[in-house]
């Protein structure tokens, strides 16, 4: 009877915890199995604890190389997509031009289209175009292409809430258009731009389907894992996956802490400041 009541009173907590567990347990399994010591080529059954593979995390040359390729790709994708997407967002929010509404709609199409379709379409496009060899360049083009939509959407929302009078104030104080953008607009939309950059980095490093079509002989981290799955996955995959996860978590925490601090600063309005007597003019 008492147990039943306890369950009922804490049901939201329990359901919440279960949901979180559902989301996190697979990741936990990956992390745990990075300490496994499997006898064969497959790392699917627990055989014993070892830190051997952590010590030798970058021991498999192909794996390390694919990771570096992915990071490089994600880095350039983030830069390219963020610049392009930010400029696009500014154009879409700020300017009236023919086809603006259509452009606003078209921008979400890459997000809504199945990846397989984009991947296959890009492949036939690259083959027909016959300018680039399939490889890093085509991957970069493909990744920037599908990331731009996300950047536009993130930056656009930041721009919509932007007080245009701040730009007028800058102009009024003698700043030309470029200085105004550099000193006022960009710093104020920076949080949006930064999260857009992180997002496109994450999308790129994560992508498998589109990359699989357009990679040629270039092997990214997801492509390596998929390939390795056929032959047997080395424990290092778990180690590196865990590392990536840890880096992501730390980055996220850093962002959250930064935001909290900014909010706190914004909310702070000491009494003495508010209650100070009005102007005294030295005459």
């Amino acid at each position: 009877m008492r147990a039943w009541r306890w369950l009922r009173e804490n049901s939201i907590l329990i359901i919440g915890l279960l949901a979180i567990a559902y989301m996190l347990v697979p990741i936990l399994v990956i992390a745990v199995f990075s300490f496994n010591d499997p006898p064969g080529r497959y790392n699917f059954e627990w055989a014993g604890f070892t830190t051997e593979y952590w010590a030798d995390a970058f021991g498999i040359e192909e794996l390390t190389e694919s990771l570096l390729t992915s990071i490089r790709l994600a880095f350039f994708t983030a830069i390219g997509a963020t610049i392009l997407g930010t400029l696009l967002a500014i154009a879409l929010v700020r300017y009236q031009f023919f086809g603006r509404r259509a452009a606003n709609l078209l921008i979400v199409i890459p997000m809504a289209t199945p990846e397989v379709v984009i991947g296959a379409a890009l492949l036939s496009f690259f083959l027909t175009l016959d300018v680039f060899q399939l490889g890093f360049t085509t991957l970069l083009i493909a990744h920037i292409m599908f990331s731009v939509s996300f950047v536009v959407i993130v930056v656009r929302s930041r721009l919509i809430g932007f007080d245009r009078r701040l730009e007028e104030a800058a102009a009024d104080l003698g700043a030309n258009a470029f200085t105004t953008f550099r000193k006022v607009t960009l710093p104020l939309i920076a949080p949006g731009v930064a999260s857009a950059a992180f997002l496109s980095f994450a999308l790129s490093i994560d992508d498998f389907v589109i990359s699989n079509f357009n990679s040629g002989s270039t092997v990214t981290f997801p492509l390596y894992i998929f390939g390795a799955n056929q032959r047997g996955i080395p424990v290092q995959v778990n180690v590196i996956a865990t590392m990536l996860f840890a880096v992501t978590i730390i980055a996220m925490l850093a962002v959250i802490i930064q935001q909290k601090r900014a909010e706190k600063a914004a909310a702070m309005r000491p009494e003495e400041v508010a209650n100070k007597p009005a102007i005294s003019i030295p005459v």
Binding site: D163, R165, L166, E168, A169, A170, A171, D172, L173, G174, A175, N176, T179, T180, K183, V184, P187, L188, A265, A266, M268, R269, P270, V273, A274, K276, P277, A278, I279, S280, I281, P282, V283
Partner: protein, 407 residues
């Protein structure tokens, strides 16, 4: 750059103020002239054929209800909008096509528009930095300006850590530090509470006198305009209805709109019965030399300010003075005065304001329902023509308790 006046670097805000004041008296920091300026947004005409001459060092106010074109006019002077036709001259030179960042003007925005990511110091120094003023001079002038507005201790704070009144003062400092030829103020006190606003009105006027810079001030608050301005342009539907000093605008409004917008006004419909007499629709004929401005038989309105009226119970009081009879509808105690609405005819009511001189006098005032006679001295009555545009209606006038004589 154009915005930097030809002043040598100075040591303190006071020095600077002195020099600027001397300048205003002498060589001139710059007046503003509008010649036939029209601004259209699509089909909508925001400002129509406006001519305006603002003298150097003047505190000039554009007053009107929202949508009357006052802010658009200000934005054309600042360079945020370009006139559709007509010329804007600042300090004698045509500024057509000159973008905002090249004009010798600075603006205090209604919402302050302080840069939230910069400290007060950085906000105030923003303009000087754009003009490539040497660093230590920027520091000195910024410190001086922050001291003037009493925010030296907050120099390192960000705008969102300040109260509204403080933010307003930063906005003022940020504009004034550049010593513009013309300072444009777009309802700078609009967002503040009444008490703070009153204090800042006085201080703003004082600062303007100190620095001697031409102030072009936009507001919808008639009291604010009357308190601070050297001259007021009362605007309505993109046109100037009257442009005059505060006393003239208040005492001698030239149209029904001005009479209704500035203060509480009593408008009594009348007709000019001869060149020296008018006949009130709701009362007697009254002799007035002003009738000569109207053709015989022409419609006009008699304006008398509420505080100039005398109210007596019917049958008493001085019947030699012009007046009308009516019934008290409401009587409101306002603290400094008692305000009564008196219905003098169907659809015509008048507001009477009796100062609270003593308890005794206040208690002797007629209550609601009393039949009364309202009278005034002939010199307190003024004739106006009906506005070409719409009449000021109750929802356009910002003042509380505005009573329209004509409905």
């Amino acid at each position: 750059m154009e915005g930097s006046p030809d002043l040598p670097p100075t040591d303190s805000a006071e020095d600077r103020a002195e020099q600027a004041a001397g300048k205003a008296a002498g060589s001139g920091s710059g007046g503003v002239r509008l010649e036939g300026v029209t601004k259209q947004f699509g089909d909508f005409t925001a400002v129509e054929e406006m001519d305006l001459d603002i003298a150097d060092g003047e505190f000039f106010t554009m007053l009107g209800p929202s949508g009357c074109g006052k802010t658009t006019t200000l934005r054309m002077i600042a360079g945020f909008e370009q006139p559709t036709t007509g010329k804007v001259l600042i300090d004698g030179s045509d500024v057509a096509g000159l973008p905002a960042f090249k004009r010798p003007t600075n603006t205090v925005f209604q919402s302050y528009a302080l840069f939230p990511h910069m400290t007060l110091e950085e906000n105030v120094g923003f303009g000087l930095k754009r003009k490539k003023v040497p660093k230590d001079e920027i520091k000195k002038r910024v410190a001086g300006e922050l001291e003037r507005v009493g925010l030296s201790r907050e120099a390192k704070r960000k705008p969102n850590q300040l109260s509204g009144g403080q933010q307003q003062r930063v906005a003022l400092a940020r504009a004034l530090v550049n010593l513009p030829k013309v300072l444009l103020l777009d309802e700078p006190l609009g967002a503040l509470d009444l008490k703070l606003r009153k204090g800042l009105q006085v201080q703003l006027k004082q600062i303007q006198r100190d620095v001697g810079i031409t102030f072009v001030y936009v507001t919808h608050d008639q009291e604010e305009a009357l308190t601070m301005s050297d001259r007021i342009a009362v605007m309505n539907e993109g046109r100037i209805e009257q442009c005059d000093d505060p006393e003239s605008v208040y005492e001698r409004p030239s149209t029904t709109f001005v009479a209704g917008f500035i203060g509480v006004s009593n408008l009594l419909p009348a007709v000019a019965s001869s060149s020296s007499e008018i006949k009130l629709d709701t009362g007697p004929a009254i002799a007035t030399p002003e009738a000569s401005r109207f053709g015989t038989g022409e419609r006009c309105f008699a304006v008398v300010r509420p505080e100039k009226l005398e109210i007596d119970l019917e049958g008493r009081g001085d019947t030699s003075k012009p007046g009308v009879d009516g019934v008290v509808e409401t009587s409101l105690y306002l603290g400094t005065a008692t305000q009564m609405a008196v219905r003098v005819a169907e659809g015509v009511s008048m507001t009477v304001l009796c100062p609270n001189v003593s308890d005794e006098e206040r208690q002797s005032l007629p209550g609601a329902g009393a039949r009364v006679r309202i009278s005034w001295l002939p010199e307190h009555m003024h004739l106006v023509a009906e506005s070409a545009g719409n009449k000021a209606t109750a929802d356009e006038t910002p003042t509380d308790n505005v009573t329209q004589g004509v409905n």
